[in-house]
Structure formats: structure tokens, C-alpha cells
Symmetry: C2
Subunit: 346 residues, 2 copies
Amino acid sequence: SSNIRLAVIPGDGIGAEVVAEGLKVLHAVGVKAETTEYDLGAKRYHATGETLPDAVLEELRGYDAILLGAVGDPSVPPGVLERELLLRLRFELDHYVNLRPVKLFPGVATPLGEARPEDIDMIVVREGTEGPYAGAGGVLRRGTAQEIATQESLNTAFGVERVVRYAFEKAQARPRRKLTLVHKTNVLTFAGDLWARTVDRVSQEFPDVETDYCHMDAASMFFITQPQRFDVIVTDNLFGDILTDIGAAIAGGIGLAASGNVNPARTAPSMFEPVHGSAPDIAGQGKADPTATILSIAMLLDHIGSAEAAARVEQAVADDLVERQGAWTARATREIGDDIAARVAG
Amino acid sequence: SSNIRLAVIPGDGIGAEVVAEGLKVLHAVGVKAETTEYDLGAKRYHATGETLPDAVLEELRGYDAILLGAVGDPSVPPGVLERELLLRLRFELDHYVNLRPVKLFPGVATPLGEARPEDIDMIVVREGTEGPYAGAGGVLRRGTAQEIATQESLNTAFGVERVVRYAFEKAQARPRRKLTLVHKTNVLTFAGDLWARTVDRVSQEFPDVETDYCHMDAASMFFITQPQRFDVIVTDNLFGDILTDIGAAIAGGIGLAASGNVNPARTAPSMFEPVHGSAPDIAGQGKADPTATILSIAMLLDHIGSAEAAARVEQAVADDLVERQGAWTARATREIGDDIAARVAG
Ligand SMILES: CC(C)[C@H](C(=O)O)[C@@H](O)C(=O)O
Ligand SMILES: CC(C)[C@H](C(=O)O)[C@@H](O)C(=O)O
């Protein structure tokens, strides 16, 4: 396929290590990518105080896609890089779909004693640009006995409908064709009502998709006791954050969880990143598992229209995971990348 | 111990069946309880349109404690009984501590293949009277493309401090003396800041309690991958709702999960109830497991100052669960109650 322009944000900790393996596999699959690196993250923050300068943000808009490793370091005040860099990118680039597959690959150990790969195969479509992540809220009389702190979830018909429609399309393209809304409509009545009505209405355009509803608390339990209930899930920003970490746990751990911050309208580049953090404790030691990043590359390929290349990368990972069984710590970051790249290439 | 006055709300579905066994065990342990039944729930709602009449609420204030079975039926519009009965009781009776032990009893099957009873032994102290459950929020232009729906989390220094202090006291009384705050401070900055500062401040009164912090998404994962991290957890109303269902899942299922809606200031009676719902599909068949209700009775006993009786009930349940191994469906609701009552009595 044609040349793509890719912005790369390795970030902190193990970010650079895993990104290098992701790019290795991208090249191996034959996609010509012109990459430009951006030094955003803890180092830049300490050097200049900058998290995401406006000029950099504007430059990023010009790429076909963004690959991010991991951002964060204990030396930075908690929340700063998360909000000013990670979340700001999602909001500014209108990544209204936060796409997170939850899939147990054969050969991968799961903490669920009885779950088999066919039981855990779903996609969580998490809303990415509103809800409790809007940053709305306030505080009065901070630090006194009369303090009140509020936190507001903002939900719009516009924002909910576009992500719900996307989820229906995803569900329609899968064999089971089932979409489950996860919310807490019995308590969060205003937001829940908007979500439930939207799913109802849009479902009429997708008569071949079965729809279901599950409260967030019950869904969290079912991820553990009956994950086979789920095919595609659509949910809000905060519930999706929590559910996808439960998903990562049951599908073999955060080292395998990939994600896409997707702008399906393509008004700005989408961003792909492993769900895991920067893991400063193992940084620079070649111990990080680059698989989540490589699976994120598969999602990137799918997004830029290279479905065939995406499938090849995912298959190479699947094959690698089967062989890896029982040998989790035997290979260095680079070796895992080499092995998967070799499978992809040949 | 002395006579207690107990209000009993059997509720719907399996509620009456499990409550009967709970009361059986209460009597067997030698506590003299004068019980009065209240017919709140779906039947009353259909007959009179009432969920929780003010006069009944006022009467309930006069008891030493309340035992609730389960409330809810598909024939009632979703959310009505939850909000107008269950949540209203929690708010009106100022149940600011929602106490939910997460404990894997020996002999109980857990979906976590490798977890042992010593790995899962914690108490979740969930705030019960504010946060996202306040019911605050609104909607504009409902049903149009311009709709906006908000949902507001209200957090006060008063409300957070009292539950945090309670959690520290609980932690101090346990062997590990560890308290973990679970929140999402990096995103929900206003509320998160109040919670984190409160834990910091109150911790100075409890120098022998180790404190820890965990983001809600990571905590959800750690419940599955490293439950032994946790001893006592303190968290907000919504995170606690989700975490305790994850807790129920890992500790053998919702059939064993007990809870107390506690007003530690004793300005109104506390209410004890199994975490499970009314399970209309198995109602009236003697299939329901009354164990969660019986464990809720143990919590009730503890609350009214009968710690010795509480310990006896919990021990009887533990012994029963060890023997029950591999024979989960062999006994009827009544038989389980009989067996546990017999152990307690003699
Ligand atoms: C780092 C944090 C802001 C982020 C989130 O809450 O979305 C992370 O948990 C994730 O899931 O990508
Ligand atoms: C029924 C519902 C309102 C309730 C809650 O959300 O608190 C339930 O899930 C619980 O955990 O007791």
C-alpha cells in the first residue's frame, strides 16, 4: 500500500522500547511509513514545562496516524501528563471512539480458571470525548469542613449517537452481531436515559443486530463469570475505562491489551497505543512485552485501510503467542519483535 | 443479649425465602428479635402505587435494625423501586457506610483459577449517601439532536471524612492494618482531590494504618490478578458499587455476598441485605442460596453489639461451606438454613 505519514510519540519508561518493535513489524508487513518522532512526555515536561504545545498539536493534525508508546513518570505530578497530553490529544483530535478489543488468544494464560479463547472475544467501544471525562466540576471552600466538590458528566445526543452508530456498525460486521449497552441507567438516570434511548433509536437502522443492556456493576461481574455474554459493548468514557482494564485482566494481562483512539469521521488523525503504562520499574531492561503495541499497529493498519496487512500482523501475534506458551520471560523485548516481524514478513 | 426490634422487608422474588432462613439463624443464635414485616416492593407498588410511603419511613426509624431480602420485579418500570425504595432508604436513614466484605471462604469455588482463601479477604467501605448517587443532573432538549444530559457527583468534606474515618477504624482493627483509597483522581480531579486530601489528613490520626492509593481501573484489574493487595478499601458510591460486584464474582458469586447499609452515628437504624437481587426466575422454588442473607445477619449482629453471636454465625457458614464443596445444588433453601441454624445452635 501507499506511503503513510506517521507521528510517533515514544513517551516515557518502556514506551520507546515497545514502539521500536511496533515500527519493526509495521515495516516488515510492507507498509511504507514515513515516521517523525515527538519527544512529548516527562522529559520534555521537566526540560521546558511543556506537555503539549499548541504548535505541536497543530503539526500532529497533519499526519495519517499517531503511534504512542506510554506516557508518565513518578517525577511528574500525578494527572498532569494524563490530562494535558493523553486526554488533551483525545479531545482535540476528536477521538470519539476508544476501541479496545478484549480477546483471549490461544496459548495465553488467563486468571479465569475455566475460560477458553472462544469465551473471551469481544470489542469494547468506549466513548472518548465526553461523559465524566469532560473535566467539568468545581470546588467550594477547599480545605475546610464545608468543602463541596462536584464532578459532572456531560453527555450530548451528538456525542452519544455517533459512538453508538459506530458500535452498531462494528457489531454488524462480526459473526454474532450482538451489541450490549453498558451503563447504570437505574441510578444515573439523565445520562442513562440518553444512552438507552439512543441505542433504541439507532437499533432500528440495524435490524440484524441483537441489542442487549447490562448495568455496569453486573457487566463487571459477567466479565469474570460469563464473558461469553459479550460480543460488542458500547459504553461511556468512565465505564469503558474500567471495563477495559477488567478485560485486559481476563484476556491475559495489560501486556497484551491494544487500543485505538479513533476519529472515524477522519477530521483528524487517529492514535494507537498499548493500554499499559510506562512501567518505569522495568524501563531500559528489555523486559517489556511489545505485543500490545504490535496489536495496536494491527489496529492502525485496519484504520488506514490495510485490512489485509492488519490481519497478517494479528495472525503473526496469535501464532507467536501459541508458541510462547510457558516461556513468558524467556525472550527480550527485541526478540519478541524480531520473531513477530519474521512471521509477518515471511 | 437483650430483645431487639427488627423491621423485616422480605421484598420480591426470592426475598421472602432467603429472609426466612436469615431469621431462622438469628433465632438459633439466641438473639431475641421482635420482628415486624413490611410489604414494600413490587406487590405494594402494583396495588397502591406506593414505593416507600412517608409514614412507613417514619415507622422504620423506630427499629433497632432492618433486614431486607431483595426488591425488584420485571413488571415494575426499571429504576423505580431501586431509587424510590432502596436508595431512598439509604439516603433517608443516612446509611453513609455501605459495608461489603469480600472474602473467599475455604471450600468455595472461585472463577480465579489460582486464588486461595488467604488471597481474598478484604472489606470494601463504600460511601452510601452522596457522590454520583446524589441524583443531581438534568436534561435539555430531550429527544432532539441538541439534547444534553448531565449527571453530577456531589462530594462533601462532611460526607467523605466520616466514611474515611470509619474505614480507618475498620482497618486499624484488622491484622494487616492497610487502607486503600480507590478513586480516579487523575481524571475526576475535583472529587478525587477531596478524597485524597481527606485520606491524607485522617491518616495522621491512624499512624499504625498503612495507606495506599489505587486508580479505579487498576483496582478492578488487581481484584482479578492480585486480590491479596487489598485489606480495607474506601471508595465512593459508584466505584464501590462496581468493585463490590467484582468482589462478589471473585469470592464465589453473588449468592454469598453480604452487605450492611450502616449508619455508624446511630441516628437511624442500619439495614442489612444480601447483594443479590430478587431473581424472579427461581422464586418460589426453594433454589435460592440463603447464605448471603445469613452472612448479612452476622453483620447485623455485629452492628447491634453481639460480636460473639456474629462470629458464631460466620463460623457456622464457613463450616457449612467447607462441607458443601461439590454439592452446590443438592440442598433446598430451607435445608441450607436448617443446617446452618443447627450448627449455630449446637
Ligand atoms: C491515563 C488515563 C487518563 C487513561 C484513562 O483514564 O482513559 C488510561 O487509564 C486509559 O485507559 O487509557
Ligand atoms: C439496585 C441498585 C440501585 C444498587 C446500587 O447501585 O447501589 C445495587 O446495585 C447495589 O449494589 O446495592
